[in-house]
Symmetry: C2
Subunit: 389 residues, 2 copies
Amino acid sequence: MSTSSDLSPPPPSLLRPLDFPHKVLMGPGPSNCPPRVLAACALPMLGHLHPEFIKIMDEVKEGLKYAFQTDNTWTFVISGTGHAAMEAACSNLLEQDEVALVCQNGIWGERFADMVERNGSVAQKLIRPMGEVFNLKEIEEGLQKHKPKILFITHGESSGATAQPLEGIGELCHKNNCLLLVDSVAALGGVPMYMDKFGIDVLYSGSQKVLSSPPGASPISFSNRAREAVLNRKSRCRSYYFDANELANYWGCDDKPRRYHHTAPITSVYALREGLARLAELGLEESWKNNKVCAEQLWEGVEKMGLELLVPQKELRNPCVTAIKVPDGVNWKDVSDYAMKNYRVEISGGLGMMAGKIWRVGIMGYNATPDNIRLVLRGLKEGVENCKK
Amino acid sequence: MSTSSDLSPPPPSLLRPLDFPHKVLMGPGPSNCPPRVLAACALPMLGHLHPEFIKIMDEVKEGLKYAFQTDNTWTFVISGTGHAAMEAACSNLLEQDEVALVCQNGIWGERFADMVERNGSVAQKLIRPMGEVFNLKEIEEGLQKHKPKILFITHGESSGATAQPLEGIGELCHKNNCLLLVDSVAALGGVPMYMDKFGIDVLYSGSQKVLSSPPGASPISFSNRAREAVLNRKSRCRSYYFDANELANYWGCDDKPRRYHHTAPITSVYALREGLARLAELGLEESWKNNKVCAEQLWEGVEKMGLELLVPQKELRNPCVTAIKVPDGVNWKDVSDYAMKNYRVEISGGLGMMAGKIWRVGIMGYNATPDNIRLVLRGLKEGVENCKK
């Protein structure tokens, strides 16, 4: 046995307490959590198969069915953040050499295509610049040309700040023997969503956006059509951790006794339960309305100060993430730093092709208040005035 | 736009507050979290690239290097629970058709082999019954016979309750051009671990065991040899979410600026930081000693009441998880239920081949106290007396 002299010493940084400021997170997420969610994070631990925890899991499922507006049996939670849910959707639906048609109008389509290729499947793309959305005609042509097994599209694009109209896409997909997969990480709860009515086959989201919970537990739901596709795979899912068949069992979505598959992130599930409970109390329509009202307040304020929005058409803007063009002669980062330094409010920059060209403001759940919008507008206005090059 | 009449209503179960009892979790994990960890879970949210959060990430890395006793640059956290770290290890190290030699003396070897096969790689096995460990001779023979790229072995087997002696295995592996991968989910912090000295190439653990944090953020470390293997892959990692190359960058383990790869589970990282800070304050040797003292108290108490331990050799027992044989004429579940009902203390059952045949008692971090051991012994003794068939 080794003795103490062999041990490298404990790091001094860990002998000081945690200490950092409170910020108003008005970027594209994570957003601030309401007190009831934070309180839930600090509740005592339960085992991952204890009856009390199973009750909480069941409540989460009910809450997700409400938030998604679905009756899908396979509605559960991936034990990771939004990208984990994206990867779960990809790796469960696609087998080797199968084709996905990926609508790419921002970084989410790009990331999904990357996952498709890593999975050994084939990604075909429909491409639009950030700030634009897809129409039914081009989608139909893409379906007919590529005959994909699945179509991927982003509901709330957080990099291009668009809200994709979803009506009609499910019908087109099903007519072409294709499953519709929708990423609603940056829209769910803030933009109307009717999973079943829209004919969506796989829908996933994150916890840290409109649901106002910490990142770490990501909702997902599979239509019966998608479930059948998973159950009829020829090969097993590449991933054990994301295997929907196993997860559905652990989440009590089949008629077999729950098996131990992995240890769920217990407190993240508590927190998601509280985020969903908040949404249930508020009501979906009120949540959608809140977001719309705050977004319009932001858009008016921004235009009033002479700035331009990336997405000209109001009805195509994502009310959860607004993109504002950075005017000539201004460095986006200086303004963002100014707002943080003076008002402790986060205003983010662009991603990918839009880096340096836009600011992004998130309006999500608990943070969707007129006060917060005024704070953003104040930080932005003063920042631009003070940071001209 | 759809109207309110289209909406399915919010679930009544979410309109009631969360309510469940406090339990003493003396199973194989999750274990109870100390107040400082729970308090950290409820701290305000930060962005995943904010400087304050990066500082916390850096402190976590320092804490992990201490806990693992390693200088590895690639020491970071997987954004998921223990199985996620296992899958990350597998999918980063192995490519199509490459061979892993898996030491299986419980369910962890079995699970790892499952992951290997899903990954398109080949799992060869050395098999021992639960409760036994591997010796250097059979490992050397296995290495020579199968010429694997990696050897997988479990440090603290939580299903068979063994602690695998690790000295010498790294040397054998390296002599045979093989990487050594060790699962220390159910041992780290409770059993001496010297990653570098033992020549371990990939080591991972969980947060919810001896580190006394909630599940959801799982430590992992790669030796330079393992890092080179990842960097020299011919194909990309099957998984985007678990891609070590990307994660190492996000965790500041290379010399490039940190890129946005995914959103980390912010509060789970706060909690892990506090769990590691607690370990740093206590000191590794004190933590190992605590575990040993409590485990010996448990073993003596159990043997005094006439029960038998699964692992006869004291030096091969995992001090973090003890397995106790269920005597004839007793139903394990009745005893476990008795202890929970009367003392709110969790005593778990067996997994896999050992289901129904053993009880498992976890002794982990914050829960490793003489009081808790007495509570377990009381629940077990009274339970056995009251639950004879």
